[in-house]
């Protein structure tokens, strides 16, 4: 009972303690236990499951970055995938044999760890170039500009086929390398020091991803509580008031935008290295929207919420919806409706039908979440209070109007 009360107390602590230690403890524990569970439950064949979560980690990284732009600073970015593409292509150019077949005719092989940061800076630079002229404008104009930018970038990568091999994309990217690695009984080898150990196994990617995520979460939480972070929230809530308080709004918005882009570029480089392939098809508008939905569903401005929202949406879009057609076929056969499985005249077969339902389901999820829980699953409590208070203030203004007109 006492433990329960303690848990409740931590859960309901003052909104100022927003990075809730309990949630982070659970998340960390889950991250550590997940590979164990994956291996045990599948009898040592859990590599696929671990790899899936490492991929999901890329999206978490993206969501955390977009959360800085949208959740903290309140700027709407609809072309976030563009920076993701820029990061991925940076890795593809700087860490593969690809440049041999371009007019440069010289392959560049920089180490993964360096390109990760080059990708970060290149994306941030593009963020600055795009943001500098547009962040002076207000409201939806930034959203529209980023939307346009998000449409331009993948098309440019697709069309500049001399440099990027067009739709075929760039493949066989370098695997990340650790300078030194200890092999030992734990990996089934005799004890030895391996030079230039290549990260190939899903487990290694998973570990790197979890570590990077941990660093990013700490970083973003510190940023949020810093002077810059408070300036972001001030700008988000009332730009005029923030400017009056001495916040350089353009600079502070530009900073948020560039940091968001940097996260995206960083995630892009990791994504390129993990997949060992980049292609312009992977960076469309749907990616930008998916990331946006992740943070809105999870609870904007709240990092644990964002992480859980990302995992949920990743699960739905990349695991549940693709698995739906075979599942439906199996169910139909099991409950004696096997006749629904093969295509028949206008009926495309239940598998195909489920395939077609994908759009509808995803759209319905978006609409229903927004209607039923616009603040997200685990909202930031500060933001929730602001929202609630905002609504109440609105009402009082209306009341005053009613009195004066009466």
């Amino acid at each position: 009972m006492r433990i329960w009360r303690l848990v409740r107390k931590i859960w309901e602590t003052d909104p100022r303690v927003d990075p809730n230690p309990l949630v982070y403890a659970i998340l960390t524990l889950a991250a550590i236990l997940y590979p164990v569970w994956a291996q045990v439950s599948t009898g040592g064949q859990g590599d696929f499951l671990i790899s899936v979560l490492a991929d999901a980690g890329v999206y978490i990284l993206l969501a955390i970055g977009l959360n800085v732009v949208v959740g903290f600073a309140g700027l709407l970015d609809l072309g976030y995938a563009a920076f993701f593409a820029i990061g991925a292509y940076t890795y593809a150019f700087l860490a593969s044999d690809h440049l041999v077949v371009t007019p440069l005719q010289e392959a560049v092989h920089l180490p993964f760890w360096i390109v990760l940061f080059i990708g970060l800076f290149v994306a941030a630079a593009f963020g600055l170039i795009l943001g500098a002229p547009t962040l002076r404008l207000r409201g939806d104009y930034l959203a529209i500009v980023t939307l346009g930018f998000g449409e331009i970038v993948p098309r440019v990568f697709k069309n500049l086929s001399v440099w990027t091999s067009g739709v075929n994309g760039i493949s066989a990217l370098d695997k990340p390398v650790l300078p030194v690695w200890l092999n030992g009984p734990w990996s089934g080898d005799p004890l030895e020091v391996v030079q230039n150990f290549k990260i190939i196994s899903p487990m290694a990617f998973y570990v790197v991803m979890v570590l990077l995520l941990g660093i990013c979460v700490v970083l973003v939480n510190n940023l949020r509580r810093s002077r810059v972070g408070r300036a972001w929230m001030a700008v988000r809530e009332d730009e005029v008031a923030a400017a009056a308080m001495g916040v350089n709004t353009v600079r502070i918005k530009l900073l948020a935008f560039a940091i968001g882009a940097a996260f995206s570029g960083f995630a892009g480089s990791f994504y390129g290295a993990k997949l060992s392939l980049v292609s312009p098809e992977n960076f469309g508008f749907s990616v930008s929207i998916t990331i946006l939905v992740m943070i809105v569903l999870g609870g904007m401005g709240n990092i644990p919420g964002v992480i859980i929202g990302s995992l949920l949406i990743y699960g739905i879009t990349f695991l549940f919806l693709p698995a739906l057609p075979p599942l439906a076929e199996e169910w139909a056969t099991n409950i004696g409706l096997g006749g629904l499985v093969p295509p028949n005249g206008d009926w495309p077969g239940i598998g195909q039908e489920m395939q077609r339902l994908k759009f509808l389901i995803f759209g319905a999820i978006l609409v229903l979440t927004m209607l039923l829980r616009p603040q997200g699953l685990i909202p930031s409590r500060v933001r929730q209070q602001e929202l609630r208070k905002g609504v109440q203030e609105d009402m009082t203004i209306e009341d005053v109007n009613a009195e004066t007109t009466a």
Partner: protein, 351 residues
């Protein structure tokens, strides 16, 4: 007093910066025109006229879609992402109605026997689209009118996916053939090798122009149109004047979708192929047109649609089809950077 001084100062600064930016923009346009002129000169005038006619027809369709975007944005400041899919829906509904009204490709009916059912189908598709759009507004946007700005935007994207999903379920993922029922006659200018203006081109342009004139008359002459303009200008003040805001906003969605539905059918008749997800790109391009003309400005959207349609056909005809969309979205970004109020302008983004 202080604020007015500050305002004046900002305006002054914005003025000098604006002049520099406008200069750059004009220089860019001039370079593009010079390159275009050399290309036009090498390809001959007949080809050019053909391209222009194609651009006008193309632009009329974009204008019809852009009007819906601009009206909705003007009144509720929402980018209605579902609008592009309402346009596609117009094509799908009319495709379904064509055989019901006994019109098939290579059919024997001509003249009034063809025109009347086509007009009936046009009106029906428009009304269905309008009802769908009003339902979307009622279900997905109205409950969120006082929510943060981001919320209705996401439901708009969600509604867009839902509409695409419904059309995907209905007719599948493939390019659908849209019957080529309009007569293939054309007016040939300057002999057999000269440019030809098809009946189709003229029909598309005429329908679009008629609809746009009707819209302008509606907005400027009727009481509801006046209510729409008032609501767009200041919603609270309009409400105090006794205007039913919900009804006015619903009417805006209704009229916008009427035009988009017409655009959808015209698109099918003109290109003879439709796909369930064509509305996404068409919507974005039309939205670019709306921004180009100055979002919230009805004449601007019509003009922007024509200009974007023309740019598209010129780029397709003289440059590279693959780069056309890049060009259009680059224009979107550049317009917003250099002249955020659009070419005709109305809404000032900096409050």
């Amino acid at each position: 007093m202080v604020s007015s001084v500050a305002n004046a100062r900002t305006r002054l600064l914005a003025g000098s910066r604006g002049r520099l930016l406008n200069g750059t923009l004009l220089a860019l346009i001039a370079i593009a025109l010079v390159i275009l002129a050399t290309k036009v000169a090498t390809n001959g005038p007949a080809y050019f006229i053909q391209i222009v006619v194609y651009g006008l027809a193309n632009g009329s369709i974009f204008a019809l879609i852009a009007l819906g975007y601009t009206m909705v944005y003007g009144i509720v400041e929402l980018i209605n992402f579902a609008h592009g899919d309402v346009f596609t829906l117009g094509g799908f509904i009319s495709l379904w109605l064509l055989p019901i009204f006994g019109i098939t490709e290579g059919g024997t009916v001509t003249g009034v026997g063809l025109i009347l059912p086509l007009l009936a189908i046009l009106v029906l598709s428009m009304v269905v689209c309008a009802v769908v759009n009003v339902t979307i507004e009622r279900v997905a946007y109205r409950p969120l009118r006082h929510a943060p700005r981001l919320t209705p935007l996401i439901t708009a994207v969600g509604m867009s996916f839902v509409l695409e999903g419904i059309m995907f379920l209905w007719r599948g993922p493939f390019n659908l053939h849209y019957p080529n029922v309009l007569p293939a006659t054309s007016i040939e200018l300057g002999g057999a090798n000269g440019p030809a203006i098809g009946f189709k081109d003229i029909a598309v342009i005429v329908i679009a122009v008629v609809l746009m004139i009707a819209l302008t008359l509606f907005v400027e002459r009727t009481k509801l149109g006046k209510a729409m303009r008032a609501t767009a200008q200041d919603r609270d003040a309009a409400e105090l004047m006794g205007i039913d805001i919900n009804r006015t906003i619903a009417a805006t969605f209704f009229i916008g979708a009427l035009l988009a539905g017409a655009g959808g059918m015209i698109f099918g008749l003109y290109y003879n192929t439709i796909t369930f997800d064509q509305g996404f790109t068409a919507g974005l391009v039309a939205f670019t047109a709306a921004v180009f003309g100055g979002i919230g400005n009805i004449q601007g959207a019509a003009l922007g649609g024509l200009v974007i349609g023309m740019i598209q056909s010129l780029s397709d005809g003289y440059f590279d089809t693959a780069w056309t969309q890049v060009l259009i979205f680059a224009i979107l970004v550049l317009v917003l950077v250099f002249r955020p109020t659009g070419i005709l302008g109305m809404r000032v983004p900096e409050k």
